[in-house]
Amino acid sequence: MAEISEEPPNPIPPQPQPQPQHTHQPSESTIRKAKPGLKRLTLTLSVLVSFIFAFPFLYKSVEIHRAPLPFREIDSLSSQIGSSNNHPSLSFPCHFQAIFVNFNNSNAETLEPLIFDELTKLTSNATSQCSTLSVKLVNSGPIWSLIGAVDFGGDDESVDEALAGVLGGEKVYSVVVVKGESEEVKGVVGKNRHGWVVGRVSEVEAAERVAEMFVKVFVNGGKEEGFIHGEFMPVGADGRIVLSFNLLNSNPHDWVYDWDFQAIDDTLLAPIIKALGPVANISVESQVLYHTPKSSFSFWDDKRKGYIFSTKDLPFFVNSNEWHLDTSIAAGGRSKILQFVVYVPSAKECPLLLQLPNGEISKTNGFISPMWGGVIVWNPQGCLMDSESQHPIRQTISHQDLQKVFEVFMGQFRQLFGLKSDNLYFGSSGTYSLLASEKGFSEWELDFLARRHTCFNLHSCATTLGSLSRLVQSLPRMIIMDEIGKQVKYSLEAANLAQRNASLGLYDASAVSSRQARSLAEDAFFHPSIMSVSYYSFEHCFAVYSPFFLPVSMHVLLAALREWRRYKIENRKYLAWKAEVKNNS
């Protein structure tokens, strides 16, 4: 049957005039009396057209479900947040007030431009989170008169408390400059958002100090430049930190130490965790491990009466084979776990001392590793072993010792967050002592952390969403679940909220919502449906559909082509006949 249809169209004129069948004699078969029919041509053409039109529908039907992602908004967020972490375009308003006591009133006009000059000098070369600085000089009013009543001669703690009573409650950073009698100029930064300078200071010097306290301490957290980089932010992608405390008994045959961690947790850690609430959700757990030797060597030093390990051994100190500092099951998948290790050396390496590069012995006897945690070597008192008894009893580390260890921990924890571990700040205009809060972090430090975390979180959120959008756009056949679209949407909303809060000066709220934005962005990026083999390639699609569409399209195209050709030939014949008839007539 097929061969009949496939044979070349034989134009047969209806007249009974005998003629050879073959087309090599076209001159004789070019006559047609009837108008060629359009039935078959329209049929084949309509099939072809319907095929062509159905193709988009088919393509739509085999299309993979992709939730629409707001690419434009992601791009706009990325451009807003800025590409580099070092130059965030995010702006926080910061308000300062400087209070001058015992200065003459006439100096107010001269002081204000001085301070502004100093501020612009300091902020021009350093990166700062606060873009809008508003400074207010207080020379009179109720606060001023109250300040006058504060006795600046007392010790720092009492002055701080008194100032807190006067200035407390407001989110304004204040510096009180008191012109005193003493030659020595003392600068102190309190636990809340204020500091004071007491001493014989000139106006220029006072302005310098005030500006430095504003910019270097209150705004930049008093940290040394380039100490720990911004990308080392010890908060997990879901905004959680697990503090895992480990007491390692290097060799329990010598002595076994235990601790009463519960007491520490209740008394010392709880306020810190509460204070850091806006920055991270912190949980604490502890364990005691045994048979955990360190993997670096130490040598005996006769002069210091101890075993010395130096800073260049530190990369090898943590023995990951024997120290089973497990990841926590209680923590979620993307929480950050900070390991804090108290290492009790064995009898044959006791006391174990850390030697600093300058040859001195470290006072803390500990070190940190950014993003991992910290290690403290705790030497048992006297390093005395009960030689007569083979089996040591379990001893508990005394509360005083534990407290000391925890002070070091606190310093390490602050360092991991990029803050100073000691309470002195050496500025260009002088030394400032920073009062330590019993919460571990003072108010202005918490502000600083909240600002920094907001910046970091928003930046990380923007980069994550940006790479997600790039990935999604580069793989056009990747399945994207609705859930991902929703997460991206919420993440963008949270990021916008964080930006709005930041511009209003609500540090804590913006830190919380930026954390949310980041965790949602990470959730979207690491969604299991993206991680799994969800890439349905175009080649696969082609392989599945080509066995049908290739032969069928051949048929349809050829049929349409043939019918069209035949119609043209027939039409030409008909026209020729018509012309002949006309000529004949």
């Binding site: 249809s5 757990e285 926590s328 599945v544 559909y545 048929h555 049929a559």
Partner: protein
């Protein structure tokens, strides 16, 4: 006001005292209540092998006293797991090899609670509302899989685990049970298991675990069992008890054995700790509360040794002592035991098993503990057996049907015991069967047939209670729980069940589909027979956790073999073949339809008529043209008009034939 305070005073006093006590208790509790103990039980087996059973137990105080986040001895990971998934009880076992119930015993606490099916077995009871149990189970399997470096996460799929009623472990609904018979067990599973011990394998008894020697053994089963009573609303709170047991059956180095074989075949090989493990105990784990090694001699062995002693008494009468086996003639121990316990057994008047205790507290690196046992006389004995020896096998051939058969053979050893145990006229022997079958083995439960002593028996006579939840394709496995009651005098019994093999979806085949599929072991429980070994101990305060575990009454339990069922495996390129052939058929259909639509019948007929009036039909014409070409001659159109009619008829016949062929084809294949 004066008369009031007296009573309040006393109340206050009591209160304050209580508070004092409770705080003291809490302080001591939180620090010192986490305990750890390590024990090792050694037992010579009748077939020249040695059983070593390590038992480690760690306990954590309940949450109310410790706040649950701070641990001193108890592994943090396990405590977090219990708290996160609300696990009430859980048992996980990794086993390699099969416990030989004939030779190694089937009626003692070790065989019924430590002999496990090959591969991984996990069951857990959750203390969560019923609708959350499955979610908890899934999370638990993933966590355990990460914790123990095993593919326990395959138990997540609902086709692999079962929730049963009463067959295996009585519980109130929150229990899930799953096995992976094909899981290979090796040192990567042992290391995380050891990591849960405070001393790991650095010190104490676990230091004996030399990997090459324990994996060279005949049987190896590591088990982790934990019970927590934290979520009980009522009752005594005992916190979390983590029990880790490792059971290995070893034979000491074979090159020595060949020598003993040559000299004296009957003599049991002498062994020592260093010869079977390749290591010695160099001291205890300092954190362990108790750290003991036990040597257990079975009833049968003790009876044999007593007989030997009697013989000796006849030859040498100076050995008349009431010391029992203290200086027995059958064997010699390299280390003198510190204590000897005799089993308290009212049922066996003949003899009872003996336990030697060694405390390894006084041993150290300089004076290692190396217990050795040297046989002096050949002794032959047998282990106590379960009342019925059970085995399971497949019958039938081919890829379509088959039969599962479970056969019981009476061990005969306990007959006297049986009659003594029940002492009734209608003496019945109860056996519970719990079996999980994957869904692709479609068991027809109505085909259950029971044979007792080779004779078919009505099901109602034997099956006391039956609970079946049939499998659902790709959703859940089939679970069968049966309570059987055989007459006590039964010699053998068998159960058969027929099944069809199902087809899996192409995605569901494992990578090595041609190897076959495993049916997990069935569990056979004899609830009327309790294993408990009670040793006469002095009333010392520190009771050994292992011995108290042995004292617990638990029913005799045994596992049957794992069955391997070959299923038909498809050609795995099938989907593409199917796609291709379907598409081709569609394309053919479409193309021919289009051609038919385009056909000009009238025109063709006219051509035909024309050509018929002039020359022959096309087909003979073509043929002749072809033959002319082949012959290399000039083609001449034949002139005879008679061929046309024959051509038309042949074409018609051809069409009819094609249609008939299609019809036949269709008829044949549509059936």
């Amino acid at each position: 006001m004066a008369h009031l305070p007296r009573r309040t005073h006393s109340i206050l006093l009591i209160l304050s005292i209580q508070i004092c006590f409770s705080t003291i208790f809490a302080v001591f509790g939180s620090v010192f209540q986490e305990e750890f103990s390590e024990e090792l039980l050694l037992k010579p087996l009748p077939d020249r092998k040695v059983l070593a059973h390590f038992h480690f137990e760690t306990t954590a105080p309940p949450l109310s006293t410790s706040h649950g986040r701070h641990h001193h001895l108890f592994p943090k990971a396990i405590a977090q797991l219990v708290r996160k998934f609300h696990v009430k009880e859980m048992e996980l076992s990794f086993t390699q090899g099969r416990w030989n119930y004939d030779r190694w015993g089937g009626f003692d606490p070790i065989s019924s609670s430590n002999a496990k099916p090959p591969g991984v077995e996990l069951w857990a009871v959750f203390d969560v509302p019923k609708d959350q149990v499955d979610a908890s189970w899934k999370n638990l399997t993933h966590t355990l899989s990460g914790l123990f470096c095993a593919s326990i996460n395959f138990l997540e799929s609902s086709t692999t685990y079962s929730a049963h009623e009463w067959g295996f472990h009585p519980s109130s609904g929150g229990l899930r049970y799953g096995t992976l018979p094909r899981e290979a067990v090796c040192t990567e599973n042992l290391t995380p298991w050891l990591k849960l011990l405070p001393c790991r394998d650095k010190a104490g008894l676990s230091a004996l675990l030399d990997r090459p020697s324990i994996y060279r053994g005949f049987y190896h089963s590591q088990r982790l069992h934990l019970t927590s009573s934290e979520f009980h609303s009522s009752g005594v709170e005992s916190g979390i008890v983590l029990e880790q047991a490792l059971t290995v059956v070893l034979q000491h180095n074979s090159h020595k054995m060949s020598k003993t074989f040559s000299s004296e075949t009957k003599l049991q090989p002498s062994w020592s700790l260093s010869s079977i493990f390749g290591r010695k105990v160099t001291g205890r784990c300092v954190l362990a509360k108790t750290s003991n090694v036990y040597l257990q001699l079975e009833r049968g062995l003790v009876t044999e040794l007593e007989n030997l002693q009697k013989d000796n008494m006849i030859t040498g009468p100076d050995h008349v002592g009431s010391g029992g086996l203290k200086d027995n003639p059958g064997f010699e121990l390299s280390v003198r035991p510190e204590k000897i316990f005799n089993e308290v057994n009212s049922l066996h008047r003949k003899s009872s098993s003996v336990l030697y205790e060694y405390s390894i507290e006084r041993y150290s690196v300089f004076e290692p503990f190396d217990l050795g046992l040297t046989w002096k006389f050949p002794v032959v004995w047998s282990c106590p057996q379960a009342p019925l020896h059970s085995s399971r096998f497949l019958m039938g051939s081919g890829n379509q049907r088959g039969t599962i058969a479970i056969s019981f053979i009476s061990t005969g050893l306990e007959e006297g015991f049986l009659s003594a145990n029940i002492g009734e006229e209608s003496c019945k022997l109860q056996a519970d069967i719990f079996q999980v079958v994957p869904w692709y083995i479609k068991v027809y439960y109505h085909t259950l047939r029971v044979f007792v002593d080779g004779q078919p028996e009505a099901i109602t006579n034997v099956v006391e209670k039956m609970h079946v939840s049939p499998s659902e394709d790709k959703v859940s496995p089939g679970v069968m729980e049966l309570v059987l009651k055989f007459p006590c005098a039964v010699k053998s019994a068998a159960l058969t069940l027929e099944f069809d093999k199902g087809f899996l979806h192409i995605d569901e085949y494992p990578p090595d589909a041609n190897q076959g599929f495993d049916i997990p072991s069935a569990v056979i429980i004899f609830p009327n027979f309790q294993t408990s070994m009670h040793y006469l101990e002095d009333n010392s305060s520190n009771k050994s956790p292992m011995l108290s575990k042995f004292q617990e009454k638990s029913p005799v339990l045994s596992y049957t073999e794992v069955l391997l069922v070959p299923l038909t495996t498809p050609d795995f390129s099938m989907p593409y073949n199917v796609i291709t052939i379907t598409c081709t058929v569609f394309a053919l259909y479409f193309g021919s339809l289009l051609n038919v639509l385009r056909r000009r019948v009238g025109e063709e007929e006219r051509i035909l008529k024309n050509s018929a009036s002039k020359k022959a039909g096309r087909l003979p014409q073509l043929l002749s043209r072809l033959s002319a070409k082949l012959r290399g001659k000039e083609w001449e159109p034949p002139q005879s008009p008679s061929t046309s009619s024959s051509f038309i008829s042949s074409k018609l016949i051809l069409k009819v034939l094609i249609v008939a062929g299609v019809a036949v084809f269709w008829q044949y294949y549509s059936e």
